[in-house]
Protein backbone atom coordinates (compact mmCIF):
# COMPACT_ATOMS: atom_id res chain seq x y z
CA UNK A 1 0.00 0.00 0.00
CA UNK A 2 1.16 3.48 -0.84
CA UNK A 3 2.27 5.65 2.01
CA UNK A 4 -0.41 8.08 3.23
CA UNK A 5 1.93 11.00 2.65
CA UNK A 6 2.62 10.04 -0.94
CA UNK A 7 -0.32 12.19 -2.02
CA UNK A 8 1.67 15.26 -0.97
CA UNK A 9 4.60 14.45 -3.26
CA UNK A 10 5.47 17.26 -5.58
CA UNK A 11 6.19 15.94 -9.04
CA UNK A 12 7.63 18.19 -11.70
CA UNK A 13 5.64 18.17 -14.90
CA UNK A 14 7.78 20.63 -16.83
CA UNK A 15 11.37 20.99 -15.65
CA UNK A 16 12.41 24.63 -15.41
CA UNK A 17 15.73 25.78 -13.99
CA UNK A 18 16.56 29.45 -13.63
CA UNK A 19 20.02 30.31 -12.39
CA UNK A 20 20.37 26.96 -10.68
CA UNK A 21 17.03 27.35 -8.90
CA UNK A 22 14.41 24.75 -9.63
CA UNK A 23 11.11 26.41 -10.49
CA UNK A 24 9.63 23.49 -12.39
CA UNK A 25 5.96 23.53 -13.25
CA UNK A 26 4.74 20.85 -10.84
CA UNK A 27 1.45 19.15 -9.98
CA UNK A 28 1.12 21.79 -7.24
CA UNK A 29 1.52 24.57 -9.80
CA UNK A 30 -0.91 22.78 -12.10
CA UNK A 31 -3.64 22.83 -9.47
CA UNK A 32 -2.93 26.47 -8.65
CA UNK A 33 -3.41 27.20 -12.34
CA UNK A 34 -6.59 25.11 -12.38
CA UNK A 35 -7.90 27.09 -9.39
CA UNK A 36 -7.21 30.33 -11.24
CA UNK A 37 -8.79 28.97 -14.43
CA UNK A 38 -11.88 27.77 -12.57
CA UNK A 39 -12.22 31.14 -10.85
CA UNK A 40 -11.98 32.93 -14.16
CA UNK A 41 -14.52 30.58 -15.71
CA UNK A 42 -16.81 30.94 -12.70
CA UNK A 43 -16.78 34.74 -12.83
CA UNK A 44 -16.96 34.88 -16.61
CA UNK A 45 -19.88 32.47 -16.79
CA UNK A 46 -21.68 34.02 -13.85
CA UNK A 47 -21.44 37.58 -15.13
CA UNK A 48 -21.88 36.92 -18.87
CA UNK A 49 -25.47 38.21 -18.85
CA UNK A 50 -25.19 40.73 -16.04
CA UNK A 51 -28.92 40.40 -15.58
CA UNK A 52 -30.89 42.62 -13.29
CA UNK A 53 -32.60 39.53 -11.99
CA UNK A 54 -29.66 37.16 -11.54
CA UNK A 55 -29.67 33.62 -12.80
CA UNK A 56 -28.26 30.70 -10.87
CA UNK A 57 -24.57 31.28 -11.52
CA UNK A 58 -24.82 35.02 -11.24
CA UNK A 59 -26.49 34.55 -7.85
CA UNK A 60 -23.57 32.40 -6.69
CA UNK A 61 -21.16 35.07 -7.96
CA UNK A 62 -23.04 37.70 -6.03
CA UNK A 63 -23.18 35.53 -2.90
CA UNK A 64 -19.37 35.21 -2.93
CA UNK A 65 -18.96 38.92 -3.60
CA UNK A 66 -21.36 39.95 -0.85
CA UNK A 67 -19.89 37.40 1.56
CA UNK A 68 -16.40 38.85 1.28
CA UNK A 69 -17.60 42.45 1.05
CA UNK A 70 -19.64 42.01 4.24
CA UNK A 71 -16.75 40.26 5.97
CA UNK A 72 -14.54 43.28 5.32
CA UNK A 73 -17.24 45.81 6.19
CA UNK A 74 -18.02 44.02 9.47
CA UNK A 75 -14.44 43.35 10.54
CA UNK A 76 -12.46 46.25 9.11
CA UNK A 77 -15.00 48.91 8.15
CA UNK A 78 -15.38 51.09 5.07
CA UNK A 79 -11.67 51.79 4.80
CA UNK A 80 -10.95 48.11 4.44
CA UNK A 81 -12.80 48.03 1.10
CA UNK A 82 -9.54 49.24 -0.47
CA UNK A 83 -8.22 45.72 0.10
CA UNK A 84 -11.38 44.02 -1.14
CA UNK A 85 -9.74 42.67 -4.34
CA UNK A 86 -6.88 41.16 -2.36
CA UNK A 87 -9.14 39.58 0.29
CA UNK A 88 -11.47 38.26 -2.40
CA UNK A 89 -8.52 36.77 -4.30
CA UNK A 90 -7.15 35.26 -1.11
CA UNK A 91 -10.47 33.63 -0.28
CA UNK A 92 -11.03 32.27 -3.78
CA UNK A 93 -7.49 30.93 -3.95
CA UNK A 94 -7.55 29.15 -0.60
CA UNK A 95 -11.16 28.02 -0.99
CA UNK A 96 -10.57 26.47 -4.42
CA UNK A 97 -7.24 25.03 -3.30
CA UNK A 98 -8.94 23.26 -0.39
CA UNK A 99 -11.93 22.14 -2.44
CA UNK A 100 -9.96 20.90 -5.46
CA UNK A 101 -7.81 18.88 -3.10
CA UNK A 102 -10.80 16.76 -2.16
CA UNK A 103 -11.22 15.45 -5.69
CA UNK A 104 -9.66 12.01 -6.18
CA UNK A 105 -6.21 12.06 -7.84
CA UNK A 106 -5.99 15.80 -7.31
CA UNK A 107 -3.35 17.71 -5.41
CA UNK A 108 -3.94 20.00 -2.43
CA UNK A 109 -1.54 22.91 -2.75
CA UNK A 110 -2.83 24.40 0.52
CA UNK A 111 -1.53 21.33 2.37
CA UNK A 112 2.01 22.58 1.83
CA UNK A 113 3.58 24.79 4.45
CA UNK A 114 5.57 26.60 1.75
CA UNK A 115 2.36 27.91 0.20
CA UNK A 116 0.50 28.74 3.41
CA UNK A 117 3.58 30.28 5.01
CA UNK A 118 4.28 32.40 1.93
CA UNK A 119 0.70 33.71 2.00
CA UNK A 120 0.75 34.25 5.76
CA UNK A 121 4.13 36.01 5.69
CA UNK A 122 3.02 38.26 2.87
CA UNK A 123 -0.13 39.17 4.84
CA UNK A 124 1.88 39.70 8.02
CA UNK A 125 4.42 41.97 6.35
CA UNK A 126 1.79 43.87 4.37
CA UNK A 127 -0.37 44.42 7.45
CA UNK A 128 2.63 45.62 9.46
CA UNK A 129 3.59 48.05 6.69
CA UNK A 130 -0.02 49.32 6.49
CA UNK A 131 -0.04 49.78 10.26
CA UNK A 132 3.16 51.81 10.33
CA UNK A 133 2.15 53.78 7.23
CA UNK A 134 -1.13 54.82 8.82
CA UNK A 135 -0.10 55.37 12.41
CA UNK A 136 3.67 55.87 12.26
CA UNK A 137 5.41 55.00 15.51
CA UNK A 138 2.05 55.21 17.24
CA UNK A 139 1.44 51.74 15.78
CA UNK A 140 3.78 50.47 18.52
CA UNK A 141 0.93 51.17 20.98
CA UNK A 142 -0.41 47.85 19.67
CA UNK A 143 2.03 46.21 22.09
CA UNK A 144 1.00 48.26 25.08
CA UNK A 145 -2.71 48.99 25.20
CA UNK A 146 -4.11 52.24 26.55
CA UNK A 147 -5.16 52.18 30.19
CA UNK A 148 -2.79 49.43 31.26
CA UNK A 149 -0.72 50.35 34.34
CA UNK A 150 2.85 51.20 33.41
CA UNK A 151 4.12 48.57 35.90
CA UNK A 152 2.67 45.82 33.74
CA UNK A 153 4.75 46.92 30.76
CA UNK A 154 7.62 44.45 31.29
CA UNK A 155 5.16 41.54 31.10
CA UNK A 156 2.58 42.96 28.73
CA UNK A 157 4.90 44.16 25.97
CA UNK A 158 6.72 40.82 25.47
CA UNK A 159 3.40 38.96 25.51
CA UNK A 160 1.83 41.29 22.98
CA UNK A 161 4.96 41.19 20.86
CA UNK A 162 5.11 37.40 20.87
CA UNK A 163 1.40 37.12 20.06
CA UNK A 164 1.86 39.57 17.19
CA UNK A 165 4.92 37.81 15.82
CA UNK A 166 3.31 34.40 16.10
CA UNK A 167 0.48 35.45 13.79
CA UNK A 168 2.07 34.26 10.54
CA UNK A 169 2.94 30.91 12.16
CA UNK A 170 -0.54 30.27 13.53
CA UNK A 171 -2.14 31.45 10.31
CA UNK A 172 -0.01 29.23 8.05
CA UNK A 173 0.21 26.18 10.32
CA UNK A 174 -3.56 26.14 10.94
CA UNK A 175 -4.35 25.81 7.24
CA UNK A 176 -1.45 23.50 6.40
CA UNK A 177 -2.12 21.18 9.37
CA UNK A 178 -5.86 20.99 8.78
CA UNK A 179 -5.42 20.08 5.14
CA UNK A 180 -2.55 17.65 5.70
CA UNK A 181 -4.19 15.80 8.59
CA UNK A 182 -7.53 15.58 6.83
CA UNK A 183 -6.00 14.07 3.74
CA UNK A 184 -3.83 11.62 5.69
CA UNK A 185 -6.90 10.54 7.64
CA UNK A 186 -8.88 9.97 4.46
CA UNK A 187 -6.01 7.99 2.92
CA UNK A 188 -5.51 5.79 5.99
CA UNK A 189 -9.23 5.09 6.35
CA UNK A 190 -9.52 4.38 2.63
CA UNK A 191 -6.63 1.89 3.03
CA UNK A 192 -8.72 -0.03 5.60
CA UNK A 193 -11.53 -0.45 3.08
CA UNK A 194 -9.33 -2.74 1.00
CA UNK A 195 -7.53 -4.31 3.97
CA UNK A 196 -10.73 -5.41 5.75
CA UNK A 197 -12.15 -7.18 2.71
CA UNK A 198 -15.87 -7.95 3.19
CA UNK A 199 -16.05 -5.73 6.27
CA UNK A 200 -14.60 -2.90 4.25
CA UNK A 201 -17.99 -1.24 4.15
CA UNK A 202 -17.49 -0.05 7.74
CA UNK A 203 -14.43 2.11 7.00
CA UNK A 204 -16.10 3.02 3.70
CA UNK A 205 -19.02 4.54 5.60
CA UNK A 206 -16.53 6.33 7.83
CA UNK A 207 -14.63 7.61 4.78
CA UNK A 208 -17.91 8.88 3.38
CA UNK A 209 -18.65 10.79 6.61
CA UNK A 210 -15.10 12.10 6.92
CA UNK A 211 -15.23 13.29 3.31
CA UNK A 212 -18.33 15.33 4.11
CA UNK A 213 -16.53 16.66 7.17
CA UNK A 214 -13.49 17.51 5.05
CA UNK A 215 -15.65 19.45 2.62
CA UNK A 216 -16.90 21.46 5.58
CA UNK A 217 -13.35 21.92 6.87
CA UNK A 218 -12.14 23.01 3.42
CA UNK A 219 -14.73 25.79 3.32
CA UNK A 220 -14.30 26.66 6.98
CA UNK A 221 -10.50 26.90 6.82
CA UNK A 222 -10.71 29.16 3.78
CA UNK A 223 -13.13 31.31 5.77
CA UNK A 224 -10.92 31.29 8.87
CA UNK A 225 -7.83 32.20 6.85
CA UNK A 226 -9.67 35.10 5.24
CA UNK A 227 -11.38 36.40 8.35
CA UNK A 228 -8.13 36.33 10.34
CA UNK A 229 -6.55 38.36 7.57
CA UNK A 230 -9.43 40.82 7.96
CA UNK A 231 -8.89 40.97 11.71
CA UNK A 232 -5.16 41.63 11.29
CA UNK A 233 -5.98 44.28 8.72
CA UNK A 234 -8.44 45.84 11.15
CA UNK A 235 -5.72 45.99 13.83
CA UNK A 236 -3.44 47.77 11.37
CA UNK A 237 -6.08 50.23 10.14
CA UNK A 238 -8.07 50.98 13.29
CA UNK A 239 -5.73 49.58 16.00
CA UNK A 240 -7.39 48.17 19.08
Amino acid sequence: MASPVEQFDIKPLVEIQVGGVDISFTNSALFMAIAVGLSALFFWYGTRKRALVPGRWQSVNEVFYEFIANMIRDNVGKEGMKYFPFIFTLFMFVFLGNMLGLLPYSFTFTSHIAVTAALALFIFIAVTIIGFARHGTHFLRMFFPHGAPIATAPILIPIELISYLSRPFSLSVRLFANMTVGHIMLKVLAGFVVALGVFGFIPLAVVFGVTLLEIGIAALQAYVFTILTCIYLNDAINMH
Binding site: I10, V21, I23, M32, L119
Partner: protein
Amino acid sequence: MPQFDFLSFPSQIFWLVVTFVALYFIISRFAIPRIGDVMEQRQKMIDDDLERATQLKADTDAAIQTYEKALAEARAKAHEVMKGAQDEMSRKAEERNRDVAEKLAQQIAEGETRISKARDEALASIREVATDAAKAVADKVAGVSIADDKAEAAVAAALKETR
Protein backbone atom coordinates in the same frame (compact mmCIF):
# COMPACT_ATOMS: atom_id res chain seq x y z
CA MET B 1 6.95 14.36 4.62
CA PRO B 2 7.15 16.05 1.22
CA GLN B 3 6.00 19.26 2.88
CA PHE B 4 9.44 19.68 4.45
CA ASP B 5 11.39 19.06 1.28
CA PHE B 6 12.90 22.52 1.06
CA LEU B 7 14.09 21.93 -2.50
CA SER B 8 10.48 22.18 -3.66
CA PHE B 9 9.91 25.55 -1.97
CA PRO B 10 11.22 27.86 -4.71
CA SER B 11 9.02 26.25 -7.33
CA GLN B 12 5.94 26.32 -5.08
CA ILE B 13 6.44 29.93 -4.08
CA PHE B 14 7.23 31.00 -7.64
CA TRP B 15 4.04 29.45 -9.02
CA LEU B 16 2.07 30.68 -6.03
CA VAL B 17 3.12 34.23 -6.84
CA VAL B 18 2.40 33.78 -10.55
CA THR B 19 -1.04 32.23 -10.11
CA PHE B 20 -2.03 34.47 -7.20
CA VAL B 21 -1.16 37.62 -9.13
CA ALA B 22 -3.05 36.28 -12.14
CA LEU B 23 -6.10 35.60 -9.99
CA TYR B 24 -5.73 39.03 -8.39
CA PHE B 25 -5.93 40.67 -11.81
CA ILE B 26 -8.86 38.53 -12.87
CA ILE B 27 -10.77 39.43 -9.72
CA SER B 28 -9.85 43.11 -9.42
CA ARG B 29 -10.10 43.98 -13.13
CA PHE B 30 -12.83 41.64 -14.26
CA ALA B 31 -14.95 39.96 -11.57
CA ILE B 32 -15.41 42.80 -9.07
CA PRO B 33 -16.32 45.53 -11.59
CA ARG B 34 -18.76 43.27 -13.38
CA ILE B 35 -20.48 41.92 -10.27
CA GLY B 36 -20.32 45.29 -8.52
CA ASP B 37 -21.81 47.11 -11.51
CA VAL B 38 -24.81 44.89 -11.84
CA MET B 39 -25.48 44.99 -8.11
CA GLU B 40 -25.14 48.75 -8.02
CA GLN B 41 -27.45 49.05 -11.00
CA ARG B 42 -29.98 46.81 -9.30
CA GLN B 43 -29.76 48.81 -6.06
CA LYS B 44 -30.20 52.01 -8.04
CA MET B 45 -33.21 50.61 -9.83
CA ILE B 46 -34.77 49.45 -6.58
CA ASP B 47 -34.14 52.84 -5.00
CA ASP B 48 -35.59 54.61 -8.04
CA ASP B 49 -38.65 52.39 -8.02
CA LEU B 50 -39.14 52.94 -4.32
CA GLU B 51 -38.78 56.66 -4.79
CA ARG B 52 -41.29 56.61 -7.63
CA ALA B 53 -43.64 54.53 -5.52
CA THR B 54 -43.48 57.02 -2.66
CA GLN B 55 -43.98 59.86 -5.15
CA LEU B 56 -47.02 58.12 -6.62
CA LYS B 57 -48.36 57.43 -3.17
CA ALA B 58 -48.00 61.09 -2.27
CA ASP B 59 -49.82 61.99 -5.48
CA THR B 60 -52.58 59.56 -4.67
CA ASP B 61 -52.89 60.95 -1.17
CA ALA B 62 -53.10 64.47 -2.54
CA ALA B 63 -55.76 63.38 -5.05
CA ILE B 64 -57.74 61.71 -2.29
CA GLN B 65 -57.47 64.83 -0.21
CA THR B 66 -58.71 67.06 -3.04
CA TYR B 67 -61.51 64.64 -3.72
CA GLU B 68 -62.54 64.59 -0.11
CA LYS B 69 -62.39 68.35 0.10
CA ALA B 70 -64.51 68.70 -3.04
CA LEU B 71 -66.92 66.16 -1.66
CA ALA B 72 -67.23 68.00 1.61
CA GLU B 73 -67.70 71.28 -0.23
CA ALA B 74 -70.37 69.80 -2.48
CA ARG B 75 -72.10 68.34 0.53
CA ALA B 76 -72.04 71.68 2.32
CA LYS B 77 -73.35 73.39 -0.80
CA ALA B 78 -76.11 70.84 -1.24
CA HIS B 79 -77.04 71.29 2.39
CA GLU B 80 -77.14 75.02 1.94
CA VAL B 81 -79.29 74.79 -1.18
CA MET B 82 -81.62 72.38 0.56
CA LYS B 83 -81.87 74.62 3.58
CA GLY B 84 -82.56 77.62 1.31
CA ALA B 85 -85.28 75.74 -0.54
CA GLN B 86 -86.80 74.61 2.71
CA ASP B 87 -86.79 78.12 4.12
CA GLU B 88 -88.32 79.43 0.93
CA MET B 89 -90.96 76.74 0.99
CA SER B 90 -91.87 77.28 4.61
CA ARG B 91 -91.96 81.04 4.03
CA LYS B 92 -94.29 80.57 1.07
CA ALA B 93 -96.48 78.15 2.97
CA GLU B 94 -96.73 80.55 5.86
CA GLU B 95 -97.61 83.37 3.54
CA ARG B 96 -100.29 81.34 1.86
CA ASN B 97 -101.61 80.23 5.24
CA ARG B 98 -101.79 83.79 6.33
CA ASP B 99 -103.57 84.84 3.14
CA VAL B 100 -106.04 82.03 3.40
CA ALA B 101 -106.62 82.73 7.08
CA GLU B 102 -107.18 86.39 6.35
CA LYS B 103 -109.56 85.63 3.54
CA LEU B 104 -111.37 83.13 5.71
CA ALA B 105 -111.61 85.57 8.57
CA GLN B 106 -112.95 88.17 6.21
CA GLN B 107 -115.47 85.74 4.80
CA ILE B 108 -116.45 84.68 8.29
CA ALA B 109 -116.90 88.29 9.29
CA GLU B 110 -118.94 88.97 6.17
CA GLY B 111 -121.02 85.90 6.80
CA GLU B 112 -121.58 86.88 10.39
CA THR B 113 -122.72 90.39 9.46
CA ARG B 114 -124.95 88.92 6.78
CA ILE B 115 -126.38 86.45 9.26
CA SER B 116 -127.01 89.09 11.92
CA LYS B 117 -128.58 91.36 9.30
CA ALA B 118 -130.77 88.54 8.09
CA ARG B 119 -131.73 87.75 11.66
CA ASP B 120 -132.55 91.36 12.40
CA GLU B 121 -134.60 91.51 9.23
CA ALA B 122 -136.28 88.28 10.15
CA LEU B 123 -136.94 89.50 13.68
CA ALA B 124 -138.31 92.74 12.31
CA SER B 125 -140.58 90.92 9.91
CA ILE B 126 -141.60 88.57 12.74
CA ARG B 127 -142.70 91.55 14.80
CA GLU B 128 -144.64 92.91 11.83
CA VAL B 129 -146.22 89.54 11.16
CA ALA B 130 -146.96 89.05 14.86
CA THR B 131 -148.55 92.49 15.09
CA ASP B 132 -150.71 91.81 12.06
CA ALA B 133 -151.53 88.37 13.40
CA ALA B 134 -152.37 89.77 16.82
CA LYS B 135 -154.59 92.44 15.26
CA ALA B 136 -156.32 89.87 13.07
CA VAL B 137 -156.74 87.46 15.97
CA ALA B 138 -158.17 90.21 18.16
CA ASP B 139 -160.51 91.32 15.36
CA LYS B 140 -161.72 87.83 14.63
CA VAL B 141 -161.95 86.55 18.19
CA ALA B 142 -162.99 89.59 20.16
CA GLY B 143 -164.26 91.75 17.37
CA VAL B 144 -162.10 94.64 18.51
CA SER B 145 -159.84 96.62 16.35
CA ILE B 146 -156.61 97.45 18.04
CA ALA B 147 -154.54 100.40 17.10
CA ASP B 148 -151.27 99.63 15.36
CA ASP B 149 -148.99 101.11 18.01
CA LYS B 150 -150.72 99.25 20.86
CA ALA B 151 -150.46 95.97 19.02
CA GLU B 152 -146.83 96.65 18.31
CA ALA B 153 -146.10 97.40 21.94
CA ALA B 154 -147.86 94.21 23.05
CA VAL B 155 -145.91 92.12 20.53
CA ALA B 156 -142.66 93.75 21.58
CA ALA B 157 -143.48 92.95 25.22
CA ALA B 158 -144.38 89.38 24.35
CA LEU B 159 -141.19 88.94 22.32
CA LYS B 160 -139.14 90.33 25.17
CA GLU B 161 -140.68 87.77 27.49
CA THR B 162 -139.96 84.86 25.23
CA ARG B 163 -136.46 85.90 24.59
